[in-house]
């Protein structure tokens, strides 16, 4: 009998599964950092973890609290600058995967991390792009991790900080982005959504255990098409142990089940 786990935990484990061994992965802060660290320690020991602060292929120590944390620089093969990482690796086209979070994600997988309300008279101001726009613009595959709440999934973002498919299947191409048709996955505590390249819109690909497509739809502010879904594999005991004991031992990012 498998151990109890929280959907937050499974979300992180499932997100990590979208990283393959040997991938070069450009990693944002927060949950992306946790899920990438999990991948590195679990099934992708040869991945090249790249931090926007410039570290290349660090071995990473448990639970960094910032991209400037010495834990994300541990035994890197090179320390460098923002320009090296975001320009010389990412914009240069060498990131297989980029991994970010976001406050709002819309049906085209555009991400808003700038503002709720009007840009010129904001209701709530968020931190802004940081490296997120760069990550979403230049990687071959984009992973977005966020908790599934209706307000986080509006039909249109109040402000597009980081491009998804913008407004349809050829939106990125028209905008002139160098990576015009990337795979994009949105991994939440309820489901995995992916861009359908024929529409440029998100659809549900997989559901967390005991979560129905209906429940996902109820918690999503834009329309999701019906279609086949797969169940997300629960975490193994070994995965849970790794997550709890090495990746986030203090539970700084993830709650374990009560």
């Amino acid at each position: 009998m498998a151990e109890a786990y929280s959907l937050d935990e499974l979300m992180v484990v499932e997100a990590s599964r979208h990283i393959s061994d040997w991938d070069t992965v450009m990693v944002g802060t927060g949950l992306p950092m946790v899920a990438s660290l999990f991948a590195l320690k679990n099934h992708a020991p040869n991945m090249c973890y790249v931090v926007e602060t410039g570290g290349i292929a660090p071995e990473i120590l448990g639970t960094p609290s910032s991209v400037t944390d010495a834990r994300v620089m541990y035994r890197a093969v090179r320390h460098g600058s923002l320009l090296d990482a975001l320009g010389g690796v990412l914009q240069r086209g060498l990131a297989d995967v980029a991994f970010l979070g976001g406050a709002q994600i819309d049906q085209f997988a555009n991400v808003n991390s700038t503002v709720i309300g009007d840009y010129n008279s904001p209701k709530v101001r968020f931190p802004g792009s940081g490296g997120a726009n760069d990550l979403a613009s230049h990687a071959k595959k984009v992973l977005i991790i966020t908790r599934h709440e209706k307000r986080r999934f509006p039909e249109r973002c109040d402000f597009i900080t980081s491009p998804g498919y913008i407004d349809g299947p050829d939106g990125r191409k028209r905008a002139g982005l160098t990576s015009p048709y990337p795979d994009i996955f949105v991994i939440t505590d309820l489901a995995v959504m992916a861009i359908d390249k024929s529409t440029g819109r998100l659809r549900v690909e997989a559901l967390m255990p005991e979560v129905s497509l209906e429940r996902v739809k109820e918690n999503t502010g834009f329309e999701l098409p019906d279609g086949d879904t797969e169940p997300v594999e629960p975490p193994t005991e070994a995965e849970l142990r790794l997550l709890r004991e090495e990746v986030d031992p203090g539970g700084e990012y993830l709650k374990t089940p009560e």
Partner: protein
């Protein structure tokens, strides 16, 4: 202006008096909870230098203090936050209240603007921000900072041009410097190499003053040579409560204490500024109030374990 190989060691007080002026564009070193130029920032607050435009990639606690103290009129940056320790609350409030001008960029876009400045170029191309509101809404707002042109070698390819960013003065905190102003930054370097080289004046505070002889023994390790630097302030713990790689970790306690005052603002925040900045003659006095020597040893030991 060309900077010479003279002795540039001075106090933060003198450095700020000489090189930071009302209305200046200030390049902010560090990022998030790492290596922010806190000592120099405090001195700017004490001297009340105002109408500042703060520029950088991730602006963090040092920026939030200058905004909170009412000294900033504008920011140009990629983010304002302290990651796990929350957003930059005084900055957020000032934007929501529309008392602060902001120009938004991606981190790479800001780094590219500094790169242009560091190479004496008027602008730098970028492939970021295409198709987004960072570009579109700011252009619609009449911002003069973004141009989209066709790549002359592929007319189907739009390219963003961004104007060089050349701060009047940059303030950074480094691990090492010598008295001429050769700087060694260890670990992550953020946008600082390009930003510093793009600046008209540069103030560097450092954990450790080393000899120029030591610099000349390892010229491969110098991050920025002295010809870009105007003032060297020797200030151990100069980035507290943010970390300095190789020396000490960030201090979650003091970061939370600041955030607990910055979030509500008002009296709580005024009290923070009074207790920790205005009433302190210099940064050493701030450190005496803010952190015990036992705690300092802990943060040093904690960093040593991560190297």
């Amino acid at each position: 202006m060309t900077r010479k190989a003279s002795n540039k060691v001075m106090t933060a007080q003198e450095a700020v008096k000489r090189f930071v002026h009302d209305g200046a564009t200030v390049g902010m070193g560090g990022q998030s909870i790492g290596r922010c130029a806190m000592a120099v920032t405090h001195e700017i607050v004490r001297q009340g230098i105002k109408d500042l435009t703060l520029v950088g990639c991730n602006l963090s606690m040092s920026m939030d203090i200058l905004v909170g103290a009412g000294l900033a009129k504008r920011t140009e940056c990629g983010t304002g936050n302290l990651e796990r320790f929350g957003t930059t609350f005084r900055w957020r409030k000032a934007i929501e209240d529309r008392t602060l001008e902001v120009e938004d960029y991606s981190h790479l876009a800001m780094a590219s603007r500094f790169l242009a400045g560091s190479l004496g170029l008027p602008f730098m191309p970028s492939k970021s921000m295409l198709g987004t509101d960072i570009l579109n809404k700011q252009i619609a707002n009449g911002s003069d900072a973004f141009r989209v042109i066709d790549n002359p070698w592929d007319l189907d390819e739009p390219v963003v041009l961004l104007p060089a960013c050349k701060p009047d003065v940059s303030i950074i905190h480094a691990q090492k410097a010598d008295q001429m102003g050769n700087i060694i930054i260890e670990g992550f370097t953020t946008q600082e190499p390009e930003m510093v080289k793009a600046s008209s004046s540069v103030i560097v505070s450092c954990e450790e003053l080393i000899s120029s002889d030591e610099v000349r023994r390892h010229p491969d390790r110098t991050t920025v040579p002295y010809i870009f630097v105007d003032a060297v302030v020797v200030q151990p713990w100069g980035s507290f409560p943010t970390s300095t790689y190789g020396h000490y970790e960030h201090d979650p306690e003091h970061l939370r204490r600041y955030q607990a005052c910055a979030r509500p603002g008002g009296e709580a925040y005024e009290e923070y500024l009074r207790e920790f900045i205005y009433e302190c003659e210099n940064f050493d006095e701030h450190l005496d109030r803010a952190i015990s020597s036992a705690r300092r040893e802990e943060l040093r030991a904690s960093m040593q374990k991560l190297l």
